[in-house]
Every structure is written in structure tokens, then in C-alpha cells.
Symmetry: C2
Subunit: 103 residues, 2 copies
């Protein structure tokens, strides 16, 4: 049950941008912050939240920390989405069918 953390983490726009940047290419904190309109500590705090949500992980390289996207969070997110996807889609199909039958 970690999809709630993942969704809460990705709910913030700038934090989602941080994740997307890391997902596209593993980067150090400084590199991420350089491409963003917020300070480096802000990026660090966002990475902390993303890490707690299982969306990123880091690996020390000298004094730098290379952050990489982690499948765990996306995995939880996907299973959550699939569940409601099928539920909503089947109901939506039924609605359309009954609507046609009523007409």
C-alpha cells in the first residue's frame, strides 16, 4: 500500500518535474537544480520525498549523489491504476450499452 505515497509525491508539480528529470536521465542534485527554478536544497527535499515513496534511489559517487528512478513506486502506481481502470471501464461500457438500449 505505497501508491498513496507515490500519488502524494507526484501531486506537486515541481516535484513531479524533478522525478521526470531523473527518470529521463540519472543526475546529481546539482545538475537537477541547475535546470529548475528552485534552489538546490529544495530539490534535495523533493528527492527525499520521492525516495520515501520508492520513486527514486541514489548512489554515492564521490561527494556527489546520483539519483535514479526506481521501479518500485511506478509499480505500486501501476497496480493501483489498473485496478480502477478496469473497474471504471467496465462500468462505463455498461452505461453506454444501457443508454443505447434505452434509446
Amino acid at each position: 500500500m505505497t501508491y498513496d505515497k507515490a500519488l502524494s509525491a507526484l501531486g506537486d508539480t515541481t516535484r513531479r518535474h524533478v522525478f521526470e528529470a531523473v527518470a529521463r536521465k540519472p543526475q546529481s542534485v546539482g545538475q537537477i537544480a541547475a535546470d529548475m527554478p528552485v534552489s538546490r536544497p529544495a530539490v534535495s527535499q523533493h528527492l527525499r520525498v520521492l525516495s520515501d515513496a520508492g520513486l527514486v534511489m541514489c548512489q554515492a559517487q564521490g561527494t556527489r549523489r546520483i539519483y535514479t528512478a526506481c521501479p518500485d513506486g511506478l509499480d505500486a502506481l501501476r497496480s493501483w491504476l489498473d485496478r480502477y481502470w478496469s473497474e471504471v471501464m467496465s462500468r462505463f461500457a455498461d452505461e453506454v450499452n444501457s443508454g443505447k438500449e434505452d434509446a
Copy 2:
């Protein structure tokens, strides 16, 4: 490009609960609020946000408004997830492989 609205909308916990309740079963505003620890107007406001994100839609029935989950928002969410899913997974597989080769 409406996945950002969907993610922002589902980022809040109680709002996600509202969506999940609607997704499980189409309900009126009063019914949803009855099963939640917040007031009815609060639920209305959440439904407003969910509607703007394409996650729910409503259909008047007398003085009641029956809210139903809408595929649009989930669709946008799914395509966003798929994109980063494949990207992250392939990179993750490469990391594991290179790690094994190094050992």
C-alpha cells in the same frame, strides 16, 4: 496534456478517497459525504477539482447529482505512466546487467 491535473487532483488523500468511492460505485454528493470525515461542501469542492481533471462526471437526477468516474483522466494518467514506466524499466535493466558484468 492533462495528466498533470489528474496527478495534482489525486495527490490529496481525501480527494483520492472521494474518487475511489465514486469509481467503486456512482453516488450522489450526500452519499459520498456520509462515508467521509469531511463536510458535504468539502466533497463538492473535491468533486469540482476531479471533474476539471477529467476524472469524474455528473448527471443530474432530480435534485440529486450522481457522480461517476470518467475514463478520460485515467487515460491520461495511464499514458503518462506507460511512458516513464518503459523508460525507467529499460534503464533499470541496463543497470542490473552492467552490474553483473562488472562483477
